[in-house]
Assembly symmetry: C2
């Protein structure tokens, strides 16, 4: 059985409150007393019991991060989440959340209602659906959303700039000489998806490149979607010279499809994506893509949540951070005979 604060107090010849003060670095303790207490702590190998602290402070000291299935994008987020976990007093509880999954809902509800977590960070593609909305409103548990489907003034969020990222990539392709650029679009109810599409369209317009409806293809942002969309695109009378996947997963599917068809990338067709998944650099050729500053986004989100939890108003409750291009081998100028 490990030592308690009482044992320490006894050994250090003082009250438990004084020991508590030393542990929590509160003022009003003489140097001499502090040293006695520290020595006693050392001797007894004492460590405060976290459950007791949690109970009396009515805080779980735990943040719940909602993740959809543990996929590629998620592992990037997770990596940073864990990294930040070190620096905070809060522990981080990963909870997977599928809107349709009854079990995950029950578990989450228990977590929130039993006060096992103080706050939530919601990561895409999770979002505040009616169930979450009810639960959060009813329990009053604070939360921060990462790249929400829709932005409303009440919801604190941190997001990457999808519009600007898509604009930059499309601009880059145009400047390379492409003017038949296919875009693999994603779910329509997703704000990021719409922003990316608009960023693409905006760049076309600015550079006076004719926009063709048949070059905007549904991909659902997944591998199979990109795969199918690329086959369709290449079957068009005037096929694209570049395929811009609204997500890397879709772009990878497209890349796979082109290679299946024997189309050379990037010599005949350029491919690029969005998200900068780790495997974007491990396929051949490396996938050019748009990177959100995921690390910074996650860090800002968690910090924002902690600010809210500790009643310090965060500097801003709505943050959008700029994206940047990551150019690799999958993009090049279009074949000259097609210009």
């Amino acid at each position: 059985m490990s030592a308690t604060i009482k044992d320490v107090a006894e050994l250090a010849q003082c009250s438990i409150k004084t020991v508590s003060r030393v542990i929590n670095a509160e003022p009003h303790v003489t140097e001499a007393t502090r040293n006695r207490v520290l020595a006693a702590i050392q001797t007894l190998d004492y460590a405060p019991n976290f459950s007791a602290r949690r109970l009396v402070q009515r805080r779980a000291y735990m943040i719940c991060v909602l993740l959809h299935e543990a996929g590629f994008y998620q592992s990037t987020i997770l990596s940073k989440v864990l990294d930040i976990g070190y620096q905070q007093d809060y522990d981080i509880l990963i909870q997977s959340y599928y809107p349709s999954h009854t079990k995950s809902k029950e578990k989450l509800e228990a977590l929130v209602r039993e006060r096992r977590v103080d706050g939530l960070v919601i990561t895409p593609p999770c979002d505040v659906d009616p169930f979450l909305s009810d639960l959060l409103a009813q329990s009053g548990v604070p939360y921060v959303q990462i790249t929400p489907l829709n932005r409303t003034p009440e919801v604190p969020y941190v997001a990457g700039d999808d519009y600007q990222g898509a604009y930059l990539m499309t601009e880059r392709l145009i400047l390379m000489g492409h003017w038949r650029i296919a875009f693999l679009s994603g779910p329509r109810n997703h704000r990021a998806s719409i922003d990316r599409l608009y960023g693409y369209k905006a760049a076309l317009e600015v550079y006076r490149v004719p926009a063709r409806d048949d070059l905007v293809l549904e991909s659902l942002y997944n591998f199979d979607g990109g795969h199918n969309a690329a086959r369709i695109a290449m079957g068009l009378a005037e096929p694209p010279t570049a395929i811009f996947g609204g997500s890397d997963e879709a772009a990878l599917g497209a890349l796979f499809a082109l290679q299946e068809m024997g189309v050379k990338v990037p010599e005949e067709v350029s491919v690029c994506g969005f998200d900068d998944l780790p495997q974007a650099q491990q396929v051949w050729p490396g996938l050019s893509t748009v990177a959100h500053p995921v690390d910074e986004i996650v860090e800002r989100a968690i910090r924002m949540l902690i600010s809210i939890l500790t009643k310090r108003e965060p500097e801003s409750r709505q943050v959008v951070l700029p994206s940047r291009l990551v150019m690799r081998g999958s993009t090049a100028a279009p074949p000259p005979d097609l210009n």
Copy 2:
């Protein structure tokens, strides 16, 4: 402020102990009383406070899963870990652990010493190094290891059968007609790594295929290692017709290298790996590989730990589960002119 057990007792006209009995499904409560209590719980929207329960039961109801950096293999594990989290009373705390990282050590030490976790699941490549060993011994926190570097009778573990998996794959390659099979080996201090190498060698011997030392190449099991090793292998006077990566990461590196060199896979050289990472099926051609039953391994490990935590002796403290082959497009018979 949410309701407490006291409020429920008051409303239901009984003692808090009776409410506690109802909550925990203990016997000795009349149907009538139980209904009154349940009604009161409903009315007050009561949920028990977990921190209080933790304190009085001296349990954190939390299991810590030690992960190395959030990479590919980890996300597979994680996915299952989260899935299992639903089914248990225990919450799961992910903690990254780098032996050299002071911060991660400090955090882990705090978690264990402050009784914030009841037990640990250690996942590869994390292992019981001297620091962990001390910490675990001193605090007496139980743990289960997944595929330990070294197996000792005292340490409970769950592992995949690396020897058998490597044997099966090598056998398969031989039966396809390969007899110049390179093997990309991994860290020598890793049990799995050694088992895989021996499985490879055993199959060669059984089928009387001459073993060549120059075809066993160091790869460190990572992408770059595989990349380099493949280049070296293909530069040999008698290059291999198949490259068996001891890990998928190495195999992917090899695949990448071959494609860079313009070598056709699988027509000229076959490639296969070990681990069945998600992207093994997303490269072109799909990577043949050996799959550990990761889901089952993780599930068994967590169940084993919980058995130990609740003082029920698990059926077995050492479990090895069979691997299986996953054949995809990256393997084929060797070119006929080379046979």
